[in-house]
């Protein structure tokens, strides 16, 4: 199976957010791979392996990202996990919106014709959660979002995708080629079944570690460099950011002596009654 995985770099969510004027100040950001995209890489690798150690692969995993030259570092870490090659489309973060990203991915998909596009369900920085859906619409492909499990069926022609919904797990069958976005439970030990591993085969929980061997091998794997104009994508932004502000600082709590006082404060201060 030929799989295209998308990868976005995001500022370390553990870092404090800084503002410069009314814009985000990312000059001191520690960039890392969006964790849902890391889960997508793991899921893609599981789909192309046979579960043996060392694994023999069937198919290929390409990881694609839009961003400045630094994004190579995040792409290399996906390659170190085991992906076969990478594509970087040169772009500045502030020059991108979900439409441009989806249209760029559409071009890549039409050019490379993967059987499956695997994506994180959202990027943990702006939590947009719309590129996967847009891409599926642009391609006219079936989509299954928020996957918590993936099973290859019909001799590799379709997937059963589990999605956690309010009252259980919904199973969608999608014919390939398709777009699937993954949620965090896709990295559970038995979440991915590719039809070649034993029915009870269990991976270690979580995205795999890259060994030093993998890190070294990643250096020799190709990263193709493309541009938006080269792909013929319009760079006109359809979503503009007008400003960013921090949520108001949290106030210290108050101790209240009686229910009467509580109701009084809910009425006079919180104004919720």
């Amino acid at each position: 199976m030929k799989i295209l995985v998308t990868a976005k770099r995001i500022p370390d969510p553990g870092q404090k957010i800084k503002l410069k004027g009314n814009a985000l100040d990312l000059s001191a950001a520690n960039w890392q791979l969006n964790q849902f995209d890391e889960y997508a890489v793991e899921a893609a690798l599981r789909l192309t392996e046979d579960g043996a150690a060392p694994a023999t692969r069937q198919g290929a995993v390409t990881v694609a990202s839009l961003g400045p030259a630094d994004v190579q570092q995040q792409l290399r870490s996906a390659l170190a996990m085991g992906a076969d090659k990478a594509i970087r489309v040169e772009a500045k973060d502030e020059e991108l919106d979900a439409v441009i990203v989806a249209k760029t991915l559409e071009k890549l998909v039409r050019r490379d014709q993967p059987d499956l596009v695997l994506m994180g369900k959202l990027a943990a920085d702006n939590e947009g959660n719309d590129v996967g859906q847009r891409l599926a619409a642009l391609l006219g492909w079936p989509q299954a979002t928020f996957a918590c499990s993936i099973q290859v069926v019909d001799g590799g022609k379709a997937l059963l995708v589990g999605r956690e919904v309010d009252n259980g797990v919904e199973i969608k069958k999608v014919r390939l080629p398709a777009v699937v976005t993954v949620d965090l439970r896709i990295i559970a030990p038995q979440a991915v079944k590719n039809g070649r591993t034993a029915a009870n085969f269990a991976y270690p929980e979580g995205p795999r570690y890259a060994s030093l061997k993998g890190i070294r091998a990643a250096k020799d794997k190709p990263i193709e460099a493309l541009t938006l104009s080269g792909l013929g994508v319009s760079t006109a932004l359809q979503v503009k950011t007008h400003g960013s502000e921090l949520p108001p600082a949290r106030q210290a709590g108050k101790k209240i002596a009686s229910v009467h006082e509580l109701v009084e404060k809910l009425r006079s201060e919180a104004k919720v009654l």
Partner: protein
């Protein structure tokens, strides 16, 4: 934050490795670090998990199941494992193969390497090194555990003490005297791989220590223990020089642990000084505290540079034993100072078992003793300097 928390030699490759080790240590060691220390043990399963995370194989050749890399990569692993795992004892025991496997790697035959090294790097077996005896430690040439040849076997008698991972080890590289002529001193020493369940070999005692509680430290006893001659590493009499050669990397890794421990104690102290209030302001509001912290930082930084520089040169074979000895002493002195200051800065809390710096201070006490004492280091330096 101006203090460097990485080594200057680190390339993108080292940074990637550091990230992996950090993730492993943060997720699989740090949450348990206090509990494992109090329980004086960590789960054996951690070896397999460390292997799966690519931690154990670093600086071993890929053909033996290793991940490749040299001493600089080993240093990054040691640093990140201690700093992010927050348990010196766990990191020490998890890494006990780092002092025993190199002897098999350097002296062993292809068959011995293929038999013993891959299972340890897969986390299936635990390896330890046994040199020190109740009657001889620093004075390696006076070791008395004997191995008398009897056909295809050696009959080993004697005991070993202070052996890291000794209780749980599946294979122990043991220094024995194969030549009964004691006047030969160090030339009579040979290394044997002695496997668990060999009749006559028992871990006779788990030792109670000042620090490193989560690390198992044992006394081993050998009585008429029959060890196949095939388990001998190198020729008879080759043990001493192999041990000495092995010491350089061991001492430098220990110095790296000192840097990580001190960095941790310092960071804990800064965080505490910024939140703890006294006389109406935070501790960091007092000049005396700020200067104490500045002194701690100033001690750590040059040692990190020294250790990093030496690692690069040692990896290229360009550093002397005396330089390593100096680095070890400088690092252990620095670590003792920083941990002591950290406890002082924490006041009463610094004396409580629930406080990390209390544990680090106890753990740090080992460093000027282990892998060659401070005094032995000075002897090496004095000899090299010619006085």
């Amino acid at each position: 934050m101006a203090l460097p928390t990485t080594y200057s030699f680190e390339t993108e490759e080292h940074a990637d490795l550091r990230r992996q080790v950090r993730r492993f240590a943060e997720q699989q060691i740090a949450p348990h670090s206090h509990h494992w220390d109090e329980a004086e043990e960590f789960p054996r399963e951690l070896y397999r998990e460390a292997a799966a995370a690519g931690v154990l194989g670093v600086s071993y050749p890929p053909e033996l199941g290793g991940a490749g890399g040299d001493l600089t990569h080993g240093l990054v692993v040691a640093d990140a494992l201690v700093y992010h795992g927050r348990s010196v004892g766990t990191a020490g025991s998890l890494g006990s193969h780092a002092i025993s496997l190199p002897l098999i790697l350097n002296l062993g035959t292809t068959a011995q390497k293929e038999q013993h090294i891959p299972p340890v790097l897969r986390g299936e077996k635990i390896a330890a090194l046994a040199i020190t005896e109740p009657g001889a430690g620093s004075d390696v040439a006076s070791l008395s555990t004997s191995a008398v040849r009897d056909g295809d076997h050696y009959i080993v008698n004697g005991s070993k003490i202070f052996i890291t991972s000794g209780c749980r080890a599946d294979l122990v590289v043991v220094a024995v005297r194969t030549n009964p002529d004691r006047s030969l001193r160090h030339l009579g020493l040979t290394l044997l791989v002695i496997e668990r369940n060999t009749p006559g070999f028992v871990a006779s005692r788990k030792l109670k220590k000042t620090g490193w509680w989560s690390s198992d430290t044992a006394e081993l006893s050998f009585s008429d223990c029959r060890v196949p001659v095939a388990n001998r590493l190198g020729e008879e009499g080759s043990g001493f020089f192999a041990i000495i050669q092995n010491f350089a990397a061991e001492r430098l890794l220990l110095a790296a642990q000192c840097v990580a421990v001190a960095q941790l104690a310092y960071d804990e102290s800064v965080a505490y000084a910024k939140t703890r209030e006294a006389f109406g302001k935070t501790l960091s509001g007092f000049q005396v505290t700020r200067h104490k912290l500045a002194d701690m930082a100033t001690r750590i930084v040059p040692i990190r540079s020294l250790v990093g520089d030496l690692a690069m040169r040692l990896a290229r074979g360009q550093a002397s034993m005396a330089e390593v000895a100096m680095a070890k002493n400088a690092a252990t002195d620095m670590c003792s100072f920083v941990c002591d200051q950290a406890v002082q800065l924490h006041g009463g809390m610094g004396y409580m078992r629930e406080t990390l710096v209390e544990r680090l201070d106890r753990d740090a006490r080992l460093f000027p003793i282990g892998a060659g004492t401070r005094e032995i280091m000075n002897e090496i330096i004095a000899r090299a300097e010619g006085y």
